[in-house]
């Protein structure tokens, strides 16, 4: 099952995919109403706890950034203010030279995990989403990389559109990922190329931190990151999870 959280006519609703009579994509609310995708405000599809993110978790992307050895997964944390839903806008600061998208499989924890072995790890997953974890590389400093000014900017991580039940994704280790900028494919990969796969990540993390329902792991991005500009439409797609759309806007949209 796929479930979204949307704001519509003054309240927040759980929503499911629904094709409108004219063939357009839309959502169906639990109370029977239906609406077009563009007539609702899409929120992150679940109540978000700790946001855990992976750097350089695809062999090809690590190579792209001239990064070789890895003793353990490169994990960093993010705050909730960075998350926005499907069809949202993300600010691209003026004067920045290199801001890029990162299409990532997001793994949402559904059940408390502490010292979990990888063979049992997927039992602790509620479901999966798509994430687009933007980075502004101009702000990278060599302290606690990647520093939050690069990776934890307000509205800099789109997530959604749906939370797809784990039961519908029997193997998160063989999903195609693609990113399109203004309709042109710019990034392509497959989760089978993760350096540390989903079960191993849950085993690793739960060996020192208790994961609880709502915690989410953004599992890293494959190669193919290029600069994007204000006005660009970025769509991240993962097999079985849908398409996550985001638009970059200039400082002027934020009164700067």
């Amino acid at each position: 099952m796929k479930q979204a959280r949307v704001a519509f006519t003054g309240a927040i609703h759980a929503a499911q995919p629904h094709v409108l009579e004219d063939g357009r994509e839309g959502v169906g609310l639990a109370d029977g109403r239906v609406a077009a995708a563009e007539d609702v405000v899409w929120l992150p599809p679940f109540e978000v706890g700790t946001v855990i993110a992976l750097g350089l978790n695809y062999a090809d992307h690590a190579k792209e950034l001239a990064f070789n050895s890895q003793e353990e997964p490169l994990v960093f944390l993010k705050g909730p203010g960075t998350l926005i839903g499907h069809r949202g806008v993300t600010r691209r600061p003026a004067g920045v030279k290199f801001m890029h998208y990162e299409c990532e499989l997001a793994v949402v924890i559904g059940r408390t995990a502490r010292n979990v072995h990888r063979e049992a790890a997927l039992q602790h997953v509620a479901g999966y989403c798509i994430a687009n974890d933007y980075a502004v590389r101009d702000y990278l400093e060599n302290w606690y990389r990647p520093n939050l000014r690069v990776k934890n900017r307000d509205g800099g991580t789109a997530i959604g559109p749906w939370l797809v039940d784990a039961a519908d994704i029997p193997d998160p280790g063989k999903l195609e990922l693609r990113t399109f900028v203004n309709g042109r494919q710019v990034q392509q990969g497959n989760t089978r190329n993760m350096i540390t796969d989903v079960p191993a990540l849950i085993e690793y993390l739960s060996s020192f931190m208790t994961l609880t329902a709502g915690d989410v792991i953004l599992t890293g991005t494959p190669e193919g990151v290029i600069n994007v500009d204000a006005g660009d439409e970025v769509i991240c797609e993962i097999e079985g999870l849908g398409r996550l759309q985001n638009t970059l806007v200039a400082d002027t949209a934020f009164g700067r």
Binding site: P80, G81, N142
Partner: protein
């Protein structure tokens, strides 16, 4: 192994904590000074420019009198005694001049780490372990703390004074830190931002009791225990 439950003072007056704790790295002058010229060498190549932050996730939060586990693999833990700023109003792009108006109050934070010498890309295993962020014993309203940039922080281990530091030595004092952080990241009511830890941070072993005192915020006690086999 059963999951250890930590009691967190989430309901303390005057504001409920959100459970989000952000720490400012190297914001105490002594901590930056201790690195000497190495800040200009690889891998850092330059001292920090913008505030460098890290996150203490919700599994790290613990209350006063919590028992914190020293992992088997390490002999000692580092005590990061620091001041926590509790946000009272949504703070986005605040100016230094008005920054303190966004503060609900202050509390003591014990930012526990596995000691690590390098700050380039440290493993979150060193700061994000369960229970590694005791805080409390309560939030003290801003009105009762006229100058957050002149607070004495004392750390006692088994009753012996081990560290004495002051918030007068911050690279970015409280208002400046809030201004520079909220330039790129909104802080929400109940969020906690810690102001940095003085060097050298004292270390503890299993079996020791740590008390951090900041007048007028009170006293935060933490017991360190060994990992059950």
């Amino acid at each position: 192994m059963p999951c250890v439950q930590y009691t967190v003072p989430m309901d303390v007056a005057p504001y409920r904590l959100s459970g989000r704790v952000y720490g400012a790295l190297l914001n105490h002058r002594s901590a930056l000074a201790a690195l000497g010229n190495s800040v200009n060498e690889a891998p850092y190549k330059a001292p920090p420019k913008a505030p460098v932050l890290y996150i203490k996730p919700r599994n790290t939060l613990a209350g006063n009198e919590a028992a914190v586990t020293v992992p088997r693999q390490v002999p000692e833990l580092e005590i990061g005694a620091t001041l926590g700023i509790v946000i009272g109003r949504t703070a986005c792009r605040v100016s230094e001049r008005t920054a303190l108006e966004f503060v609900a109050g202050y509390l003591i934070v014990n930012d526990v780490s596995v000691p690590h010498a390098r700050y380039y890309r440290p493993s979150i295993r060193q700061k994000a372990r369960d229970g590694f962020c005791p805080l409390g014993p309560r939030v003290v309203a801003r009105a009762l703390v006229p100058n957050p940039d002149a607070l004495q922080i004392c750390v006692y281990i088994n009753g012996q004074l081990q560290q004495s530091a002051t918030t007068a030595d911050l690279q970015r004092p409280v208002a400046a830190l809030l201004a520079d952080v909220t330039e790129f990241m909104t802080l929400a009511p109940g969020d906690v931002l810690t102001v940095g830890v003085a060097h050298p941070a004292p270390r503890v072993r299993a079996g020791q009791r740590v008390a951090i005192e900041i007048d007028p915020l009170g006293r935060l006690e933490t017991l360190f225990v060994g990992e059950p086999s």
